[in-house]
Subunit: 588 residues, 2 copies
């Protein structure tokens, strides 16, 4: 037996007991006549003590051979510390070592295994097993495990059944790119890895499973932006005989349960906002409600005063940064440059300082007098000491730019407080999005989303303008400006599903080839159903106030989709390609 206790559990009450511990050497302090070692495992750190007085010279010498990260087993007696350390749970005691066994030596790690490490990203990914020894990363992985367990407990308690859907499925060109898997037994044919279990969970509803969930890996072969992973995890759910209202309540319940059990936080009832309102007030379908700065439309007070930029604009809108009138010229210039970057694309930035003395100073004083600016300020509810920022142009673009500016101000002004959580349901999404470039409709959520019942007739017979206005029973759960979940009521009628595929540009043959099994299933008694999926990696990071999902994934891949530790992907043998009846066709 390697241990009687772990390194996090010994207390004063064990004083006098002989115990065995195993773990890693975290740190050694050698005072000559005395030597202390911090012994670490997943559960904590226990201080070991060796001394000339109590230890044999051989044991002292042996202790001095230990390097960082050596794995050792020690037997000894728990004693009360003279100098207690109230920052460590085991800080009241130390272990007077009688016997020391080196279980494994360790080379010097390429970076320090401390909360703050000196290792760069690449090095930490390559030696992921060392990075994972660091408490912050280990805590993340443990948090994730707890979050998954609590998800399962809650949903099982609500009558959901976890069903494993297959990983080797069928490729569908719609949506993101599939990873594919050549089939040796069916030469020339390929499986695809699922981008989500969407059709299978709907099939399970047709099958009468009633309430399904799964915490499941999904795969997308996309060019990886900053914080995407080719494989990611979803909490995937579906319910039959259910309305949107019941789904929202169920998953609000799940979210509250998760916050309560893992963070000890009671979330209030989640507000709801429809898509149009979210776009109007925040220029975003995932507004961060930790701070205000709502959009105020200024067309009526800002147009017709001779400022051509505003006069020619579809929309003039502003936000008010409370108490920021003292912002320096340099700060304002930085913000102006920031909104003019191609990623944001604004032409310029108008500001109005509402000075403490009740006067106004703006970048457009030439066109607007004190009274004009006061009218803006009044409309925006600004007080002396506030700062207004105004953008203008085509309405949709301006809202997006203003939304980015609002978020940037939130970040710069420290308004996104860690530990504060503002959930929001955004509902009533459009069913279809028109894409000017390709001159076709795309599904706003996905092709299986149902229009609202009141919109079904319009969908079946409507013209182009009508189709643009269709609303869906589709909803997103937003937390601190991050979409952590999204779902919809689904179509459960073959005719309506076929119509939707048609609107999305499928020929009947294509629709049948790719989704015939689902439309076929709808003919054998499909119940009304709907569901939701949560981005599990993202949920972990948002709940911990962190931006990167990587530190919540045990073995993440880099931006080239590469696992730096195992060095995958890699070349495979010719014979293996031969068995699969494929060959390489490299372009260069």
């Amino acid at each position: 037996m390697y241990r009687t206790h772990n390194c996090g559990e010994l207390r004063l009450q064990q004083a006098g007991q002989e115990v065995t511990l195993s773990g890693w050497v975290q740190r050694t302090r050698d005072k000559g006549f005395m030597l202390w070692i911090d012994l670490r495992d997943r559960y904590g750190v226990t201080q070991l003590i060796f001394s000339e007085e109590k230890s044999t010279p051989e044991l002292m010498a042996q202790a001095r051979t230990l390097g960082r990260e050596f794995v050792v087993m020690v037997k000894g007696v728990v004693i009360e510390r003279v100098a207690k350390n109230d920052k460590m749970p085991t800080g009241d005691i130390e272990l007077e070592v009688r016997e020391l066994t080196v279980l494994n030596a360790a080379k010097l790690p390429p970076f320090t295994i401390e909360d703050d490490t000196d290792g760069g990203d690449d090095l930490r990914m390559k030696y992921r097993y060392l990075d994972l020894r660091r408490s912050p990363v280990q805590r993340n992985i443990i948090f994730r495990s707890n979050l998954a367990l609590e998800t399962r407990k809650y949903l099982s308690g609500e009558g959901f059944i976890e069903v494993e859907t297959p990983f080797l499925i069928k490729s569908t060109p719609e949506g993101a790119r599939d990873f594919v898997v050549p089939s040796r037994m069916n030469p020339g044919q390929f499986y695809a890895l699922p981008q989500s279990p969407q059709t299978f969970k709907q099939i399970l509803m047709v099958a009468g499973l009633d309430k399904y969930f799964q915490i499941v890996k999904c795969f997308r072969d996309e060019d990886l932006r900053a914080d995407r992973q080719p494989e990611f995890t979803q909490i995937d759910c579906e319910m039959a005989f259910v309305t949107q209202e019941e789904i929202l309540n169920t998953f609000e319940g799940l979210t509250r349960h998760l916050f309560k059990t893992t963070l000890g936080i009671d979330l209030p009832t989640f507000p709801r906002m429809n898509y149009d309102e979210a776009m109007r007030r925040f220029g975003s379908d995932k507004p961060d409600l930790r701070f205000g700065m709502e959009f105020v439309e200024l067309n009526d007070v800002a147009q017709g005063k001779g400022f051509q930029v505003f006069d020619g604009a579809e929309l003039v809108a502003g936000i008010c940064a409370e108490g920021q009138a003292e912002m320096t010229r340099k700060q304002i210039d930085e913000l102006t440059e920031w909104v003019k970057r191609p990623q944001i694309g604004a032409k310029g930035l108008v500001y109005v300082k509402c000075a403490a003395d009740g006067t106004y100073k703006s970048s457009v004083d030439k066109f607007f007098g004190e009274a004009d600016l006061k009218a803006w300020a009044d409309k925006m509810g600004a007080k002396p000491g506030d700062m207004l920022f105004v953008l203008s142009g085509e309405a949709e673009k301006t809202r997006k730019q203003l939304s980015e500016l609002r978020l940037e101000l939130g970040r710069r002004l420290g308004l996104m407080k860690p530990g504060e959580f503002k959930p929001l349901w955004v509902v009533d999404f459009p069913l279809l999005e028109w894409d000017e470039e390709t001159q076709r409709f795309y599904a706003m959520h996905h092709p299986f989303t149902s229009p609202k019942r009141a919109d079904v007739a319009k969908m079946l017979s409507g013209d182009h303008a009508t189709l643009k206005g269709l609303r869906a029973d589709a909803y997103d759960l937003v937390l601190n400006g991050v979409e952590i979940g999204g779902g919809s009521i689904r179509i459960h009628d073959r005719g309506l599903q076929a119509k939707n595929f048609q609107l999305l540009g499928f020929t009947p043959e294509e629709a049948e080839r790719q989704f015939g099994f689902l439309m076929g299933a709808f003919e054998f008694g499909a119940p009304p159903h709907g569901g939701i999926a949560f981005g599990f990696d993202r949920l972990c990071s948002v709940m911990n106030g962190q931006n990167s999902i990587r530190d919540f994934i045990a073995f993440p891949k880099n931006n080239m989709g590469r696992d730096m530790m195992i060095d995958a992907p890699s070349e495979i043998a010719e014979a293996q390609l031969g068995e699969l009846q494929i060959r390489l066709d490299l372009k260069d």
Copy 2:
């Protein structure tokens, strides 16, 4: 809202209440003036009643339009039944329907949705959503969900952390064939889907996670035998600073917990048997202990009597079938033919009837007199009325044949009682298996398994004969003759791991290319560790006394690895192949 209650929960106490139910039409009985419909959902069946007396003619007419598997919503009043049905939980009541809404019509299903269906395998796989509506299949899927949840609860309670390991990993030619995934971003390179998370879970131990588990999909591109699936599920576990004894106790605890919570069965303490003993007594490393018929070696009493078949044999061994002396000539002939089939490969079958009157009759009376046969019977503990079967030949082969015969007799004689569970730990497996054909060693468990501590020195320096005799800390959990779990203590030392790869025929370069990351990790402070993996699909089926894992998998594939419902795998577009920089190279 589609329902106030489900179809399984109404009782007499709800009599008089107005309720709404939704579900599928299971069956209609029409007596003209009265009409009953069984309405079904996942939770049960509720009887609906329509009558000339209480229902409008329109409602009666509407009810008559409903076909099997129509999806309907009904509002009505719960009433006490005149003729109660104590076989249904809802059998005390029925629902007097006031309002009927057809939510979806249904075509006539291609097979009946009853406990016993008339659907063949292919039809049921193609219309899996209909097959899944049948209670026995639905119960299996729900059982599986419960089993997974209880597994997670138990292991979490024991301090295990569930960690998701990656699905896009690196191909290793050792072991079964990998499924591979071409990488678009790294042209010419491939990921592999994991055959198990073996190396990752060991890395997690090096990372200090201490106790890991995962219920996880694994993939093997094998030619599918009767009851194999290309994707299957494991309960995968690993522990650090642990001895074999602690692992066995932990997972015996898990198994007992699962039996108790899902089946209400208290399993006794699991017996243990070492590999050599299992082979000697049962000719198998996974003996079914639900019945006896242990092997008895007869060389000393059966050789040297002039029967050449025995005299030239390395082993003469028999089993005693209790009370089977009255077996007919025909039955014995059938058994003889059965053991002579190429799959078994015996040359013949010797029997001895121990007649009730104390006399013996055998197929080798020419060579053995009454006294000889009595000596056999005595040695085998046979009583009058028993039947002995004896096989002979090369020891290993004979044991395998006799094991097959024993199991066949167990089946024919009904000795494998459903509901009876006999767990067994088989321990002390050999480390290496010598393969005569390829003249090389194979890992009996896998290349990461540690020899027993006492055998390490022999492994590092031993000759061929010594290597054959090495024993490993490897163990299997056997239940009713099925291996449901297997694991080992792992090597955690770079040198020993390198030696093992060498013995298994790897060049140092191959070992480094494929497993360099793991051997590298061992140099940075790897703790002693070990683990186990359970076949989750198999565990589900064995716990339910069933032979096939298919009915415990929501969407199984057929023997050609094909999903009959979605029709996968399938061809993919040329453009998609082009992006992946591969092309087809079909042989015919």
